[in-house]
């Protein structure tokens, strides 16, 4: 319960630039590197484990493991109580990773969005794994590409899946998400990592099934800075990565309007997600991973509190 007490401003230098991470290549190593550094910054104690986090006492009922009895309390009260720990509240953690073609975009000198999304997924998976959560992953574009059901043993498989994921096809949110939603019977923490090039309503429709099933949903909206700021100066034809459509564009003339539109989109999503209590984070790929990870941790904290 200590980690959130130190959620003050972190020294950015401690977090490695995504560009540097891109050179490591091995996702496992990346995740360890990031998460360890991240956690070390958060905690003075290196051993952070749910298993020793005391949650509450409850009365003994027959069938409970007598090894969990709080003997000291029994000595004091002459009643049997069981000690319950946080770690015992293991949960499912699933990443829904959008690997549509648009995710392959990389701004000037930055890592591609898909790359960034991989790190993010790997890091979150690693943290979940360390917390003994079961982690799984779904990659999709216009259909489901691969599905790794959440399991305590699936972290490696998850990394492998991440590694293998290649953005080649155009993407859609609703169809694949609806298709996979039925597999999320058990309450899970679901992290959707996508660039969300859909109408906000459509996105909400795609998310809703998960909400109804009682999942906790985090949405990571991965955007390159170029998508946010549209820094082009030269007139050119612009090609849609997914559809291949080309449009002649004079950037300067539409710069302002574009920025307004993308900000409007983000604001609209933010408003709509907050309505249905979905965590929504815009992830700028030029920024270190910490902001996204904070978002994850904050979410975990909140859900744990709630229960």
């Amino acid at each position: 319960m200590e980690h959130h007490e130190h959620s003050g401003p972190m020294a950015g230098s401690r977090f490695v630039d995504p560009k540097v991470l891109a050179r490591i290549g091995n996702l496992d190593l990346v995740a360890r590197h990031v998460v360890d550094g991240f956690i070390n910054g958060l905690h003075r104690a290196p051993h952070f484990g749910a298993s020793i986090d005391f949650a509450e006492h409850r009365g003994y009922v027959p069938g409970d493991d007598i090894r969990r009895l709080d003997w000291r309390l029994f000595a004091r009260t002459d009643k049997f109580y069981l000690k319950q720990y946080e770690a015992d509240t293991n949960t499912n953690f699933a990443v829904l990773l959008d690997i549509s073609k648009s995710m392959s975009f990389a701004g000037d000198g930055r890592v591609a969005k898909i790359e960034y999304a991989r790190y993010l997924a790997a890091c979150m998976g690693y943290m979940a794994h360390r917390q003994r959560d079961r982690c799984g992953i779904v990659t999709f574009d216009e259909d489901i590409v691969s599905y790794v059901p959440p399991s305590a043993k699936h972290f490696d498989v998850m990394l492998h899946t991440l590694d293998r994921a290649q953005p080649v096809r155009p993407g859609r949110l609703r169809a694949p998400l609806e298709k996979i939603a039925e597999h999320f019977k058990r309450r899970s923490v679901v992290a959707l990592i996508s660039d969300l090039y859909e109408e906000p309503e459509e996105i909400l429709e795609a998310i809703k099934p998960y909400r109804y099933l009682g999942n906790d949903i985090m949405v990571f909206h991965v955007l390159d800075r170029a998508e946010l700021e549209f820094p082009y100066r030269e007139s050119s034809r612009f090609q849609d990565l997914e559809t291949g459509e080309e449009i002649p564009v004079v950037p300067e003339s539409l710069l302002q309007q574009y920025r307004e539109l993308i900000q409007g989109h983000i604001e609209s999503l933010r408003a709509k997600f907050s309505e249905i209590r979905v965590d929504y984070t815009v992830v700028d790929t030029s920024r270190p991973l910490d902001e996204a990870l904070f978002s994850y941790l904050a979410h975990r904290e909140r859900t744990m509190r709630v229960r």
């Binding site: 990389a106 612009f238 449009i247």
Partner: protein, 697 residues
Amino acid sequence: MAFLAPLFLLGLAALAVPVLVHLIQRERKTPIEFPSLMFVRRIPYQSVQRRRITNWPLFLLRCLAVLLIVLAFSRPFFRQTPVQAAFATSGAREVVILLDRSASMGYGDTWQRAQDEAKRVIDGLGNGDQATLVLFDRNAEENVRATGDATRLRAAVDAAELSSGATRYAPALRLAQSLLSRSTLGQKEVVAISDMQRTGWERPEEIQFPEGTTFTPISVAPVDPANISVTSVAFNRARFATEERVSVTAAVTNRGPETLKDVPVTLQIDGIQSGSARATLPPGVATPVVFPAFTLTQNFVRGVVRAGSDPLESDNTFNFVLSPARPSPVLVITRDGATPAESLYLTAGLVVGTPAAFQVESMPISKLSSAAMSRASVLVFADVTVPTALGADLKRFVERGGGILTVLGGRSNTLDGEGALLPGTLAAPKDAPGGRFETLGVIDFSHQALELFKMSKSGDFSGVRFFRFRPITPEPTDVVLARFADGTVAMAERKVGGGRVIAFGSTLDGDWNDLVLKPVFVPLLHQITRYLGQVETQPEWQTSGQVVDVTQRVAALTAGGADVRVSSAVVLSPSGRRLTVGEGGAVSSVEVNEQGFYEIRPQGGAASGRPFTLAVNLEAGESDLSAMDAQEFTAGATGRASLVASAVPTVVKPEETERRQSMWWFLLLVGFVLLVAESVLANRLSQKPVVAMPGTR
């Protein structure tokens, strides 16, 4: 500001190009990949914002470059007021005035008008201008050299006189060309004042005036000229008893458009009218007019034929000089007791001709004496053994200018016994090898005696067969005229004193060869005899501009007879000009360029009898006054008719103004410099970092 090619201004539409470039802007060849054009698509494509010009300096640079280049092509210039133009024109003109002074310019007031035109051109000269006055007929003469002194030029024009020369344009134009090519002044101009006689063009001439030369022909040709001219005279000589009678036939041509009737034609002999006739002259035809014969008794009788009167008087008279045809005396010497048949071919061949070319006398060798020699100019020895006693006489005869033709046969010897006269040494008679015949192999046609046969078809020696001959071996100083095919000398000449000796290596009696039977025999005999006798035939007249060799005549005068020995002679022209020739016996020639009679007298002494006289006439073509028009003349002079400038030189054409100002050149240069600057600037701008889109990982 005006434009020479205003249509090029349409090119200003090209100004739209930079505007469009700026508005549309260059698109990259490869499209920029973008994750999703979802939002871009929502923005209306055409918006007012797009019309904004991004880089004003670049835009202005492009517009200016296009503007300047278009302006350059439309050839702009600033219009000049007449004063400015006059100043610009007179700034530095090099004018060459070609003034025709040929005989035909004497027609009526043509010469006066030509002088007036010349003065008008001189008056048009401005400050700094220079003019050269060139007078031309057959030749061109630089009368006043490049000067801006109008007074001097006018005086020179006034002092200029007509000549008797024919018109030839080429020398004058070539002189103008060389004058202008040396000139450093900017504006070059040729003004040709002439009656534009068509006969002045001999053939197409390659005249290349310096670039930009203005050629202005000024025609002073008379309109519908009527002209009578005596173009030629023929003589019919007849011997009457001891005297010679000559009848003169004159060819009179009417160059005018109408038939002329009752035209008086007269003949004057030595200043006295000896005949007159009235002739009807149809246009364009030479009409013969025959005068009654007169007796010719003296040398150098002057004759003048005069026909009618017209504005061009000089070609109405025709001069000639006649001397009695005096056959030169030839002595044919045969062996004693020879039959006339032996020398028949020789004597008969020599007397052929009307009137007879030679006065031939035949005698046997025993009768030959120095007195007989003195009567003859040429001795012909027909296979004769000459007694050595005659040697000294013969030598004297030759040294005084006599000629000897020795026809070598079996009896011939060395003439004088010492070998001083015969050109070479004699060998024994020789038969043609193998009983066949020998032919003439080499003939020196460059020799004066054989020159006549030089041309093809003028004498065939190849068919002459020599069966027997007398070889001669000439000294190195002797001249070989002909050789047999085997290289043996057939004919040789030796000059002794003032005379000549020719030896012919075979007989001329039809015995040793068949030369006497060939057509070439008589001309050959006449040529050799004439050469040996140094007989000159003087033409009855010369044409103006000819060069006459008077060496012989001067030599005859200076060699003198018994009277005062003089060393040189004086040539007196019709106008009274004196020219000394023959100093030291050098070759003398006189250019006869005045119409009339030239006299040659010994310097400082009176000649016995009449002086040697030459008659000079105008060239027949000069009477043909048909003129070319100015355009044609210009085309002939410059090779293109486009150089004709207006007759008023101070009016400057727009082309000329534009050429002088030459603004297009600078505009074009600046335009291109701006384009280069545009390229540099545009490259700089395009190198500014735009967001490059590296490929997807």
